[in-house]
């Protein structure tokens, strides 16, 4: 095999007559130098190896159906898969699309072979995950939310949050996107939690198919991590790149923390029925996989090559998760807005409360009351969905950058860009928009840096709309034309317990926090911010001054 690998190195050649097209730019500079292909993967062995993995995956799928796996699957878990499996095939395939960004920008043909294999690996991941979702749709009790999966993902605000973990790979500065954001941070740090923690939790909820598929996916990941590492070392070789590397690590780390911890944290903590005391919490997993394995063992050793590590942001992400309840705040927000989603979120029970209190001491004082209200309001009984009821919860503003709302209220900051007032969940998200994604960075010209674009605040699209029209417009309605896909409970047996468009019709209109913010006078905005920063935890209004 070593000889075979040596031989295929003879395949790379330099153009003599015409340069290949250069479609992507970078502000990084690379010295051309002989490099080793870090993957050492020859297709003659690669294809049969992958096919063998497929045999195991598809064998397990058949077995799960024959063995009636769905009689033991927790609905709570499968409901959150409607969100997760609507998101994840796009990041996968976007990783495939990202590979060519590196062809011209990293002038080492030895690396390109590995990048092409990663490309097809990612096509593999995307379609194998779509296939898993299809299997769930066909065999799980409630297909709603799976059956309109990709329309939902494309027009839902949770989908929008998740999409950053895809679009960030394929646009902007080629190295920022396809190397630092995708491989150095997303794959190396965060797919550990995605592909290691999720399967364990799935299995604990009676779902042993997701583990089969995701372990199979994960087994390709170490090769991708080597791709990223090789590029990173080359980038480090040029002193002039260090400033950009520092910028990109800060941006990529923070955005991944904001997005991935929000989503996967919620799935692991609130999407499970497994409340054994010795099952690891998301915070414990994070500490192990991300803090110890990624930060201490992967990132810190790179310091000796001159990489500036964002130590402060690693600690701050941990601070957010451990001290500021980031995951709990996000899960509470998802549940607040259950009616704008396409899966069912059931109330937390006493067993859940007990576990949360055990794992996160002080949890009940912060979130317990709200979840009791959620339970009380979960079946229609003359009241509105929880978002329109008085439960001591102030509907949050969106973060312009990461698009998760500004949930840790004290961290919210405001800035004005191009005549628009924007809220950010944290100074780091403000920095990302205002300083990092700009054509100059710390006085240095960065003409290839990407831009934050799009309509980044979902509520604005529906400003002034009735909720029933919002949900119809998005298409989250079941085949009787009125029952909603989303429900704040898991009862399917009694139609009277199911929320319909008729219930929503009675609610007040959706109002865009950002539109309202921009209508304020500067003085009103100062007062608004002061009040907002005193809100929380758990979205509570600011205490009334004595």
């Amino acid at each position: 095999m070593a000889k075979a690998h040596q031989k295929i190195q003879e395949l790379s050649w330099e153009p003599q007559y015409h340069e290949p097209v250069a479609q992507y730019g970078t502000d990084y500079t690379f010295e051309k130098s002989q490099k080793k292909d870090p993957l050492k993967q020859v297709l003659r062995s690669y294809f049969p190896m992958q096919e063998e993995k497929d045999h195991r995956v598809y064998g397990a799928s058949d077995g799960a159906i024959r063995g009636n796996m769905f009689r033991q699957v927790q609905e709570r878990w499968l409901e959150w898969q409607k969100l997760f499996l609507s998101i994840i095939p796009l990041p996968e395939v976007s990783a495939a699309r990202a590979m060519p960004l590196l062809f011209r920008t990293v002038p080492n043909p030895e690396l390109h072979n590995g990048q092409a294999i990663q490309m097809i690996d990612e096509v593999r991941h995307s379609t194998i995950q779509q296939n898993l979702k299809r299997l769930y749709m066909n065999n799980y009790i409630d297909p709603a939310g799976f059956n309109n999966s990709l329309r939902n993902f494309h027009n839902d605000y949770c989908g929008t949050i998740g999409r950053q973990f895809a679009e960030g790979f394929i646009t902007g500065d080629a190295i920022t996107a396809a190397s630092i954001y995708l491989t150095i941070v997303a794959e190396t740090a965060f797919t550990n939690t995605l592909f290691v923690a999720m399967p364990a939790e799935a299995a604990a909820n009676g779902d042993y198919l997701l583990p089969t598929v995701f372990h199979s996916v994960q087994s390709d990941e170490s090769r991708h991590i080597s791709n990223g590492y090789a590029t990173l070392l080359m980038a480090l070789a040029d002193e002039g790149n260090h400033q950009l590397l520092e910028r990109d690590l800060r941006y990529a780390w923070w955005n991944n923390h904001r997005v991935v911890d929000a989503a996967i944290g919620t799935f692991i903590e609130y999407g499970t029925k497994d409340r054994r005391k010795d099952r690891e919490s998301y915070a414990e997993m994070w500490r192990r996989w991300i803090y110890d394995d990624y930060y201490r063992s992967y990132l810190v050793p790179l310091e000796k090559y001159g990489l500036v590590i964002p130590h402060d942001l690693i600690e701050e992400a941990w601070n957010q998760i451990w001290n500021k309840g980031y995951v709990h705040e996000v899960a509470q927000f998802f549940a607040t807005g259950w009616l704008a989603n396409y899966w069912r979120i059931d109330p937390m029970t006493d067993t859940d409360f007990e576990w949360f209190e055990y794992k996160y001491p002080g949890w009940y004082d912060k979130y317990g009351k709200w979840w009791e209200n959620y339970n009380r309001l979960s079946t229609p009984n003359g009241h509105h969905p929880i978002v329109a009821e008085n439960v001591d919860y102030v509907y949050p503003h969106r973060c312009w950058t990461c698009m998760v709302p500004c949930l840790v209220r004290e961290d919210m900051v405001i800035d004005e860009i191009d005549g628009q007032v924007r809220t950010y969940c944290h100074e780091m998200c403000r920095w990302t928009d205002v300083e990092a994604f700009r054509p100059t960075y710390q006085g240095r010209s960065t003409p290839n840096m990407g831009k934050l674009i799009g309509n980044r605040e979902w509520e604005t699209l529906y400003h002034g709309w009735n909720w029933a029209d919002v949900v119809s417009d998005m298409g989250y309605v079941r085949d009787d034309g009125k029952t909603m896909v989303a429900q704040p409970h898991l009862n399917l047996d009694d139609p009277k317990k199911m929320w319909t468009l008729d219930h929503l019709r009675k609610m007040g209109p959706v109002l865009s926090p950002n539109v309202i913010l921009n209508e304020m006078t500067p003085e009103e905005r100062v007062a608004f911010k002061a009040d907002y920063n005193r809100q929380g935890p758990a979205g509570r209004p600011a205490p009334v001054d004595a």
Partner: protein
């Protein structure tokens, strides 16, 4: 041994399909796209709509852009158009709602890969190919089949068969893999990435075959292919046009020039018109199986998706004429380049001891095959073909 271990316990949940009846309880099909035929295929289910489009469902639009502010997969990355392409993206503003045009919004989304490639089919197919090749080469080695080769044929294989691996590798990476970032739908980009891997695999197949020959055939020069590719005048025409192909910016032009023009006029001419013919006459029954795998990839799979892709565009209900005019223009540009490359390669036809059919006859066959492909696409044979 298991003392103290606290394992999750299975619970009976009865969460299987059909356990209860309620709205949507039987709605078990992806409802966000229209299948090409009556029933949705497995391939469509795992492929369609994975890549979003702001013209139909992507309410908030693309979120991250290049420095010019453009994100996603801009339609003008090719000059060809599918119906609906000229309609602007739906405008969003406070209270605009999120609905776009009805699916599919543009004709681009009507493309389906007739090979229905996704992970299962892809790995099965390519594993079969590499297994088959390994077996053939092993069998040849054991039966000492290479000993029957004459010296001139050994030279031909080490140099000219070897040179072709560079074409495969270069196009596989810098044309096909590159184009997988460019097309507006997942169906296009997945098909293109599969095509890319066919070429990269074919390149490696040839390289590893070359390695075996260096071990088995006395005086086989395993490095001769590099020198041939770099400086043998006969190959410089092919090399020039291969490099030029990787320089194309427009992704449709790249696929069209490579698969509709270059492959029939140069690729098949070399593989089928020369190697496949000359090998058996020179006592070589192994090389045809190696090069035949690639021939099959192209003729039976890559050309198939390419045809389906361009037939849609030449029959487009809004832009058929626009597309045909452009494709004719591309034909006028690329056909002379391909013919030139083919003619520059002509001297190698006379190198084997037992001669293959004449170059001109091979070229005529390639041209008529090429004209057939064009007529399938509804395009005219360009006058430049007469060169």
């Amino acid at each position: 041994m298991t003392t103290g271990r606290d394992l999750p316990k299975p619970h009976f949940t009865d969460a299987e399909a059909g356990a209860q009846e309620f709205p949507d309880s039987t709605a078990r099909r992806f409802n966000y796209y229209t299948p090409q035929k009556r029933k949705q295929t497995h391939y469509e289910d795992v492929t369609v709509e994975v890549q979003p489009d702001p013209r139909h469902y992507l309410a908030q639009g693309w979120l991250y852009g290049f420095s010019d502010g453009r994100g996603g997969y801009p339609l003008d990355w090719t000059a060809l158009k599918a119906w609906g392409s000229d309609r602007p993206e739906p405008k969003r503003y406070p209270g605009s709602g999120g609905k776009g045009y009805d699916w599919p919004a543009t004709g681009w989304h009507e493309f389906r890969d007739p090979n229905e490639e996704w992970e299962l089919t892809f790995y099965r197919y390519n594993s079969n190919v590499v297994r088959q090749l390994n077996q053939n080469i092993d069998a040849a080695r054991q039966s000492k089949a290479f000993e029957q080769w004459n010296r001139n044929w050994v030279t031909f294989v080490e140099r000219h068969l070897g040179a072709w691996m560079h074409v495969d590798h270069g196009l596989g990476l810098y044309l096909f893999a590159n184009a997988n970032r460019r097309a507006p739908t997942n169906m296009h980009n997945n098909a293109i990435s599969v095509n890319s891997m066919h070429r990269i695999r074919a390149a490696q197949d040839l390289a590893l075959y070359n390695l075996t020959l260096s071990e088995e055939v006395p005086d086989f020069d395993g490095a001769a292919h590099i020198e041939t590719w770099n400086s043998d005048p006969a190959w410089q025409g092919v090399r020039k046009v291969a490099e030029q192909l990787t320089g194309i910016d427009d992704w449709c032009e790249a696929i069209f020039a490579a698969n509709v023009i270059f492959e029939p006029l140069v690729g098949e001419l070399f593989r089928s018109g020369l190697v496949q013919q000359a090998a058996p006459r020179n006592g070589d029954f192994v090389t045809p199986t190696v090069i035949g795998a690639e021939e099959y990839d192209y003729a039976e799979r890559d050309l198939r998706y390419t045809t389906a892709m361009f037939v849609l565009l030449t029959n487009d209900r809004e832009f058929a004429d626009h597309n045909k005019a452009l494709l004719q223009q591309w034909l006028s540009t690329w056909v002379p380049r391909a013919i030139d490359a083919a003619r520059t390669l002509q001297p190698i036809w006379s190198q084997p001891d037992s001669k293959p059919p004449r170059f001109e006859d091979g070229l005529d066959r390639a041209k008529s095959r090429f004209s057939g492909i064009l007529s399938d696409l509804g395009l005219e044979t360009p006058k430049e073909l007469a060169q």
